[in-house]
Point group: C2
Chain length 413, copies 2
Amino acid sequence: MLAEIITIGDEILIGQIIDSNSAFIGKELNKIGVDVYQITSISDDKQHILDALKEARQRADIVIITGGLGPTKDDITKHTICEYFNDTLVQDKKVLKHIEELFAKYISTPISNVNRQQALVPSKSTVLMNQYGTAPGMWIEDKNQVFISMPGVPYEMKGLMKNEVLPRLQKRFDRPFIIHKTVLTYGLGESAIAERIEDWENSLPPFVKLAYLPNLGRVRLRLSARGNHKTLLEDTLNNKIEELQKIIGEIIVGFEEDETIESRIGNLLVNAGKTLSVAESCTGGRIAQSFTANAGASAYFIGGVVTYATKSKIDVLGVDPETIKKHTVTSAEVAEAMAVKSKEKFKSDYAIGTTGNAGPTKGDGDVEVGTVFIAIATPKTVFSKKYVFSNLRERTIGKAVSKAFELLLNELL
Amino acid sequence: MLAEIITIGDEILIGQIIDSNSAFIGKELNKIGVDVYQITSISDDKQHILDALKEARQRADIVIITGGLGPTKDDITKHTICEYFNDTLVQDKKVLKHIEELFAKYISTPISNVNRQQALVPSKSTVLMNQYGTAPGMWIEDKNQVFISMPGVPYEMKGLMKNEVLPRLQKRFDRPFIIHKTVLTYGLGESAIAERIEDWENSLPPFVKLAYLPNLGRVRLRLSARGNHKTLLEDTLNNKIEELQKIIGEIIVGFEEDETIESRIGNLLVNAGKTLSVAESCTGGRIAQSFTANAGASAYFIGGVVTYATKSKIDVLGVDPETIKKHTVTSAEVAEAMAVKSKEKFKSDYAIGTTGNAGPTKGDGDVEVGTVFIAIATPKTVFSKKYVFSNLRERTIGKAVSKAFELLLNELL
């Protein structure tokens, strides 16, 4: 069972937005055993859309299209799909009512004819109600293939996928099982892992695929098994993962598909009944934000300070100005003082402190651009490490956040 | 001059990673007048790669490929490209030396044969040196078309684009001018804007295209002009934007391509010699992080606190427990107290305070999930607004951040 995703919009091709819809759709389809063969991003151009539909149906059973359903002139997907299937647009009363209700409830501007036209759909299509917006989704069956069109606004598309598209696909198609198991590792690079597990990798049966997914010093290993016998697939993957644990057990963080190092830290803290706070300088709130992005963070994350200016390290956090004067603001001593003061102020069990210079210029400190000190305060002690990353600002911030997680995880394990 | 981007990797198709490389490449190519016709994401499969190369060269002059150049078994791009061009792999001495140096300098594990094999390149290719990694880029010319292969690791690919690919493309091809002008608006929806500027939109000449790019209550309008006469394009766009300002001037935030509402706030604060701090609860550090992501934030951003737990609002920020008791933690009074206390603690001129419940459960407060209070403290006063967003956690946080920026911007303008 193969699917193809077509995302439509000039803004994707000129790079003004990143196409995150395809990743969401790919993930969800995979879970129900539908394989995405290709993702194609094209412009808001009639001929290009027609070509893409024609090509996609030669490769896939299911074609999922997002984008170009807005009310404005540059949105031509609906008219083009209608033309492709030799169809005409008809007004859907239920959609019209929904649009009118949305306007009455949430939108301060009055409803217009342009808005009402969003209730027009191809006569052959089944309407997929869009709870979160005015453009409906559409499901068209043609020569045993299914074409699905959804708006490009991510949360509208997500709602449609979950409520309409996935349940309908599950009913409509018999699918093989696809099972993924993920092993999150840290501390070792892609090629070093590859060498250590070479024999194991060679022993994988043909229906199991292995992928290495590196990201900021952590490598995710993904095993995918496909076939008609669910138990066989599961047993094989479980056995292979047990074998893998014997080879590289000490660098494995976890096995959950959506597991991240911060969610693992969260689980460890909650299980131990401990709490965390953070004092950030160069990481500017990114560590706090990474924890609080997860629902349930309030069970262990008390809070944080972003002491971006040197004086706020003194004013708000209470770092001794003498420490800063003696060791400079970017130093092991200041990172440690930040962690300790954070622990005190927030009354947490653990705390992270970061101070460094992500660049591009030297700023308040006088260390090399890319230098970061990370401190961990535990119930018993405090320690810190110095890192020199790169002169790429974004990367240095990302790496510093990642290393802070690693240091804390090491301490908790 | 048309380009096509092919991103290779099973991890893209199953949605384990979002393809952000294409957006970067698209943006950079556009700046030098190269149009991206299509972006295609495919699997690490030989036949699929061969098919994609064949199809892309029918549509484009330049084919840019990322991904699949790692040292592990699932990376087959280099071998497949070699096969496509009937070529053989040869060792490049300069690349080998570079790999050995990288290992000596940055990598703690010893260099292996797998790593050394990354110095093998197709004999017909021109090597593009990858400063940040071990896999070199490759440039192959064939029948007047250019094929470029780069690793998929974003910062390695970005370095190769800037240092090697873009300068070489500029030398190699004569290109038309493409000029984009962006107008960032806030406070009005896509269709409401469309109605107000309908006559103006109809008056645009055929070589100018308009796109609406909505995101969390802000709509970016992008005008793109293409042609051989740079002055004509620029004059036309400038005139059209002047006309636009007369129609919707009051909702325009700025005109810079990379302008965001937070960078505009930053500029206004710096020009006025004023500073900012933030006290965040439900937004969990996202506001601080949005400001500090920009180099130069230290000129106006003093710092912030993330008082995630109720007691940290008292312990760290000094909010009066009576205020919390009387009005509950999710209230206008607490948001305002947070902003005022933040201003005091950080000694800033302005401050933002946020408190709310992003869900999924009711947590410490007792308001409806999705309720957020945002307060702005100015040098003279403090005020707040209540919002009820949705029960989608991520979206509520995003919208709250966005509304906080809007309220502050309004105040500064």
